[in-house]
């Protein structure tokens, strides 16, 4: 099923929030998390290769300058590959410990349990909100 995920896009000048298309077969929250982690990990493990330098036009430079950094790609692959299972467990652990929220924007519904049924329809939009751990003192 095609759904949309809401993300920020700093490249835009005014409306910073945009949607990414995402295809899912997940039926429960647990499945959705595992599926998305697997998808992203695969992309991460594949995609961390040295890219070629690219040329910048003066307009792109202007745009990037407004954000505080003008760079040319050419990232070095200095991160190790990661294991899908470990990352899935991590995401599940973090969901259980309230480190992020998943909200169905279209249906205005927050998913709170792992085994909860997603009940999503075509083109529904989801938001993943990351949360920090908070404490009243540090030591």
């Amino acid at each position: 099923m095609n759904i949309r995920i809401k993300v920020k896009s700093v490249a835009k000048l005014k409306d910073f929030l945009t949607y990414e298309q995402y295809v899912t077969t997940a039926l429960t929250v647990n499945e959705l998390i595992c599926e998305m982690v697997a998808f992203n990990v695969e992309k991460f493990n594949k995609g961390r290769k040295t890219e070629d330098l690219f040329l910048l036009t003066n307009e792109t430079v202007e745009n990037m300058a407004g954000l505080g950094k003008v760079s040319f790609g050419g990232k070095k692959d200095n991160m190790r590959k990661v294991d899908v299972r470990v990352m899935q467990d991590e995401a599940i652990f973090q969901f259980k410990n309230s480190r992020f929220k998943i909200i169905n924007e279209t249906k205005k519904r927050e998913y709170t349990a792992l085994d909860e049924s997603l009940e999503i329809s075509e083109n529904d939009s989801l938001i993943f909100i990351k949360l920090a751990m908070l404490a009243g003192r540090r030591f």
Binding site: V10, Y22, V70, E90, I129, M133, L134, A135
Partner: protein, 1379 residues
Amino acid sequence: MGDRWEIYTKARKKTFKLKKSNNVRDHEMVLKMLIEAGNEVGVFDGIFTQLNEASDSFKKFIVPKVIEHQFYRYKCVTEGIAWGFGLDFPVKDSKKFLLMLQDILSGSYKKYLDTQDTQQIYTLFSLLYLVDVKEYQKYFADALISPHKYKRFMAFYFASRCRTDMLSICNNNFEQDDFEMYAPLLDCIPSYSAYKKGHKYKTKGSGKIEESLFYKLCELQERLPKKNIVYKTSEQIWFQHGIQRDEISQKVFYLLLALKDKKLIWFYEEKYYAKMDAKEKVAFVDLFKDYIRLDYRVEMLNYFSYNESYYSYNDKNEKYFLSKPLTYDEAIVVSEFLKTKKTEVKKHIVEHFQNMSEKDKAKLKEYLSAADEDYKKEAANDLTGLKDQKEEIAQAVKQVKATLPNFTVQNMQESRIVECFLKLKDFVQRHKDYQYRSSIGDALFGVNYWSLDKDGEFPLQRESDEVIKSFALSPNELAYFEYALLLMQTGYGYRYDTTTIGRKLDMLATLDENRRLALQYFIPMLRHYIESNNSTEIQKAAVHRMISVLSEIKIPDNATTDTIFWRLKESEKKPEPMWQRLTEVASRLNDGIKYGLLDNETLTIYAQTMDYAQNNRHCPNIFQNSQGVFSYLFAKGVMGASEVFEFFKKGKVDLSNILSAPTEYWQQKHKDRYLYSGKHSKEYIELVERVIMFMLDTEINRNQAETVYTNIIARCDKLFGVQYYLKALQAFQKMTLPRSSYGFERTKDNVFANIVQSVIPYKTDSYEQFEKLAKELKLSEKDLVKGALFSNNWTVLEWTDRFLNKKGFISTVMFFKAHLKDEGVSKSVKDKIALYSPIDIENFKDGAVDVDWFWRIKEEADEKTFKLIYDNAKYITVANFHKRAQRFNDALTGGLSKEECLEKIKETRNKEFILYYSLIPLVGDNDIDDRYALIMRFLQESKQFGAQRQTSEKKVCEVALENLARMSGYEDADRFVWFMESKSADRISPYFEPKEIDGAQVFLNISDRFKVSVTAVKNGKESAIPSGLKNNPYVIALKTEVSVLNKQSSRVIRSLESAMERGNKFSVSELKTIAKNPLIKHILNSLFFVANEKVFTYAELTESGEQECILAHPLDLFSLKVWDEKQKYLLSNKIRQPFKQAFRELYPKTDDEKEANETNRYQGHQINVQKAIAVAKGRGWHTGEDIGLQKVFYKENIVAVLFGIWDFGYSSYDDHTTLSSVYFLNRKADETGTMKIIPLKEIGEKMFSEVMRDIDLIVSTSHPQGYDFEESLSTVEVRRQICRNIVELLGLKNVEIEGNFVKIKGSMGEYAVNLRSAIASKQLSGALNIMAINDSTQNKVFLNFIDDNPLTVEVVSKMLLLADDTKIKDPNIIREIKR
């Protein structure tokens, strides 16, 4: 709902109970709390940090649960558990550790019994006891005699910490072959300080064990090596340990105290006293003074001067090694010790004499006066002098009438106070949502009352003035209202005002909010109003108010000492002692004087009040700093010269500040308290000068005992009268001049040193008087030189010069004063230095030498004069800072040889010698090359050391190059370096041309990575050097050049990159010269230059006719709109650049940053500190002692600082540092020693970009979970949109986004979260201490989050937490909210 604070306090107490309980159901409840904690990790901290108080059954219960739920991921959990079981080692692997605990606690410990792991052994000692006592006893007993060294070590260590029979364990196992074993064994014996605190350890056998140990320790002392032994942290032992010699004596003293056996004490005294060091002697004599010989006890006085580490300063005065009071016979013995040169000892002896009984004292005085020795006669004078002087002062005090004017001051009506208070409260409420830019950033009026800028302007002042005006308060009421607010915020109004008003104030104060309002808002508002509406009437009311407060602590004439003390003690018990109130009101009065608002009547009353305060010794001396007031009273004619003089003569007013010219900063800061500093009338200044000279008259004739003026004279840094300077110098013929004149002790030498240093000739003083007196006092040449070097005064130096009549004297003195290793000279001297040398004083401090100046003085001054100054140079400064100036001279004149320098550099890597080495006269053509090469090598070798050392060595090398450049006649080091790098061009350029040898073309080839190699071309093909040619002399010659050239290549590339970053200018002709070297030419060919706002390649530049250029920075390419063009040029011509120039990342300031003081780009990201430092080091950063990672730009005097939260401190949650903001500071600290923040708009674009580039690199390589600037970037606007979206989605009706704040109406108050900084605050309470904890043990979560930026995450988390504040579980957060 009820009071949540109450509920949680109870819950917290309940958690204690639950933990202490042995009931499983209670334990399950604690577990439930932990599982439900969610992202409030503070709950874990709360429960686990006090685990040592929990019941054993709870501890056993919780360990498997922690494993099951992975709670061990929080550092505080594992540490809490370890601590709970008494294990204080750093756990290496949390999970493994907990599994072991689980095994032991469940009885499956057998598999660990043979372990050799010391942490496991220690764990077994601690835990076995809980599961199997017999097994524990056997295991421990076996361990004590185990053949395994570290198992034994652990057993002793455990005994020293946990066993009550540690003394006998120590005694029974004292025979050890390895000294390391004595570290834990000695810990089994307490030190004497434990005994003094009342810890006495009982042993069986009535002291036999102690006695046996005493002899064993004595024997061990003989056996031990002379130096302390230190064993560093190792795999086996996780802490540094060792044996310190003084530790043994501390143990011996314990045993002696426990045994109380005179014979043993005498035995020890006899055998070991002579061998003890000073500290041990002091302790020994102190502990056993009743048994120790008198001469040993007197000797102790010697150690007063330097045993600071042993006794605190106050403590010292209470230590009497001599019996008190001394008997006559003892005093005779003691008087022999007056011979000492140590003035402190003399002073203490005299004090002992003064405390003797009158009869003995009289006898002693007779003895001392009749003695032949001068030092005894001097002491006899001391016995008379002080007493007489004290009496004289007491008489003077009696003559002054000390009565307090009587007043009744009308208070403000109770109902009026409440009415005004509520109106002001309403005002704050109405404007609570007012947003403004304060001195500390975005601010909300309702949260805190920050000033608008550093001048102290407050927001909404016009409006608040209007409100106060509308109250139509009379001056009396205004004065009282201010006083009432001051009282109210203490919450103890009734104690000060016993009328119904006091009660009313206390009632208002029961609401915390009201107290905060009074303190933070109303008092500043009212003060502003009063300041802008000041009048004689208001001031008069303030004076009356002050006097009425003063009368509350008025001490009745017939009071006994007891009643006086009782009253004062009562006053001090109150939350704020009465005198603080008084000072508050007194400051209002200073305002009155400042604006000239007090009428003569009020002034007279004021003067009377001061007199009262001055003469009543129990009244707090609130006028101590009121010289300004006297000045005013004097100017107004309220007090005559003689009255002021009498006042000052009492020695109660601190005059040290009045005449030392305060700096502008200082005047600004203390403008209220010291309002007249620097602008007193001429007559008044004259008066004070006369007072000071009056005091000096007494002080200069003192002996060891202090006079009433000692304190003032010791503190003054401006004294008058050249006669005192000369007399003090004469006194130093018999004393040693202490170079650090600011000792705590007001001894004669310390105070006289201050006189020599601070005296300014009085206006009537003349050179003729100086000359006459110097001759009369028979001051030698050396005395006068010493004084001139030590003095801070220019006239003194000039008169000394005239008197000695030595050519070049002043210039030589100034040369030595300039070339010190610290800044130990006054500002006026620094200004004078500028007259002699163009080199900046900061550079002198770094080690720069003005060679021209040196040769000028060598020409001018004769050898004898020079030597006189050289030999006495130590008097310019403290410690060994003068040595540098002396060594510079040695180096320049050949007194220090090149060989000696080289040896020091090689052996000790002493960087001072790099400086000296650069100054030794050059001999021969190659000498300069050798020097240059050595400095470069030193710099290269520096890489092996830590960041801090690298930075300091680099700095010294830079200065040494500058010195060398000056020695060789270059204007700056850069030019010199380029010259040196191009020097070999003529010799090596032929090597780059092919030369035919045996049918092959051999030459030096430059690769596209700018490295040189020997290449051969045979038959049109490039090949390695044919084996037949390898021994050819020409090929060998080429090879020897390769490594030199490759090093040169890296060096040149590095300095060109740095020149680009800093925008250093080159002349084109200079570039041409250095390009004679083919390698450098090759490097230059691949770079772009900017001249006259045009971009050139090197070839184009040389043809262009331009004279000057800089290396193009991407910022130049960007602003000249040629960046894309130049990138294309490089790609199409396949040119590789030696460092990133056209493809260099650029970091411009964003719009937000242009207006800010700091950048928050990297805030909230975590870094691995070790990795970050390693990366940063390579880019010239280092870590500071007090501030974070920093990079110093010496020439620009700017320090870029990357702050981290709790930089290298402790956190309960993880081991990584969370980054905070980046600031740029002024390297030159201001008057207060702080480096001021430079707003980002004042920082050059290039510097900003390069600093950000470094940090981006540091963060991306040391981020534990991977970091990408673009992905993590977020702005305030992004956050605003995200928060709005979430609020809408979750239907949070109590949250609004307004401006730069998320505003939340919670159940426990109204909150705001700043979108820029993520700081949460509560209305009227200011910032809430709620931390976002970044747990680096977590892995990255691979989900498509709406925003990953740490600040966005923090803002959203805090917003959601506070929006539902009834569900907060972390007691610390609740305390924050309820505070």
